[in-house]
Symmetry: C2
Subunit: 172 residues, 2 copies
C-alpha cells in the first residue's frame, strides 16, 4: 500500500496549527486506486462475516457505505449529536480539549448482530473507541475496527479493545 | 419501488415542527433492499457514463459513494463550509430562513469531466441546485441529478436545469 501514499495530499496546519492533515479525497476520485486500496479490507471483512459495517459521520461514511454496498452488508450510520431522527442512543467522550458525542438510532441494529466499524482515520483512537462503545451499548456484537489510514505515533490502537480485529491499510 | 416505502420511517416534526421526515436508514441496513432500490440508478448511471458521482454531506455521501465504488467511478465530496482541507470553491444559496454554503476542493475535478450528483432527498431543490452550480463553477460538465426520494409537492425539480437528466426512485 506504500505506493498509494503519493496520492494522499498532506495539508499543513489543518484543521489546526501543528497538524499535517492527510487528505484521501484524491483517492476517492480515482476508482481503480480506491478499489485497489480497499481490496485487503474486502477480503478481511468478507471472511469476518459481519452483519453490518458502521461508518462515522461524515468522512467515515464514504468508504464504510461503499464497502457495505459492494459486499451486500447492512450500513449503519453513527452520527454527531442531533443529526438522527427518532429515538437515539448516545455516548459522550473526551477530546484533547472538551467533549464530543456520537449517536446511533435506537433499535436500528438487531441485538447480537455482528458489526465492524470502518473509519477513514485512526488518530488518537478516542472517536473509534466511543463508536465501539456505542455499538456495544446498542446490544450488538462489535467484532472489529478497520481504518484506511493510521497515524501510528498517536498510539490510538492502544485505546481499542485488543481482543478485536484492528486493521489499517496505510500507516504513517 | 412503491413496496419499498413501507421500510421508510416517517418521523413527525423533524427536523422542525410541521415536517414529516422520511428516514431511509432502515433501507441501508437491509442490503438486499438497498441493492434493489439502487438498481435503476445503477443502470441509468452506467448508461450515462459520468466520470464522477458527487455526493452532498452528510447523508448524501452514503449512496453516492456506494454507487461510485460499485460502478468504478470517482466519488467527489461536496461539503458544508470549512470542512475541506486546502483551497476550495464555494457557492452560497438561500434557505427558507437565512443562507447556506457548499464547497468543493479546487482542482479535484478535471475540467470538462462528466459529473452526476446523487443525493438522498429532493425537497425544495435549493441544495441540489447549489451543488450543480458548484460543479459547473469547478469547470466540470454537470450531466444530471439522481435522488433516492423526491417530495413532489415541493416542486424542487423546477429549480433544476430541465435539460439535464433528473431522476428519483421513490416519489411522495
Amino acid at each position: 500500500m506504500e505506493h498509494i501514499k503519493k496520492y494522499i495530499s498532506e495539508i499543513k496546519d489543518y484543521p489546526k496549527e501543528g497538524i499535517v492533515f492527510k487528505d484521501i479525497n484524491p483517492i476517492y476520485k480515482q476508482p481503480k486506486l480506491w478499489n485497489q486500496l480497499m481490496l485487503p479490507l474486502e477480503k478481511l471483512i468478507s471472511e469476518a462475516k459481519p452483519n453490518y459495517i458502521a461508518g462515522i459521520e461524515s468522512r467515515g461514511f464514504i468508504s464504510a457505505s461503499a464497502l457495505a454496498f459492494k459486499l451486500e452488508l447492512g450500513f449503519i450510520p453513527i452520527r454527531k449529536p442531533n443529526k438522527l431522527p427518532g429515538k437515539v442512543i448516545g455516548v459522550n467522550y473526551k477530546l484533547e480539549y472538551g467533549e464530543d458525542r456520537l449517536e446511533i438510532q435506537q433499535n436500528l441494529i438487531e441485538r447480537n448482530s455482528k458489526v465492524i466499524i470502518l473509519d477513514d482515520l485512526l488518530a488518537t483512537g478516542g472517536t473509534a473507541n466511543a463508536a465501539g462503545n456505542l455499538i456495544k451499548e446498542a446490544g450488538a456484537n462489535l467484532i472489529g475496527y478497520a481504518f484506511l489510514v493510521e497515524l501510528t505515533a498517536l498510539e490510538g490502537r492502544n485505546k481499542l479493545d485488543s481482543n478485536l480485529l484492528i486493521e489499517s491499510l496505510i500507516k504513517y
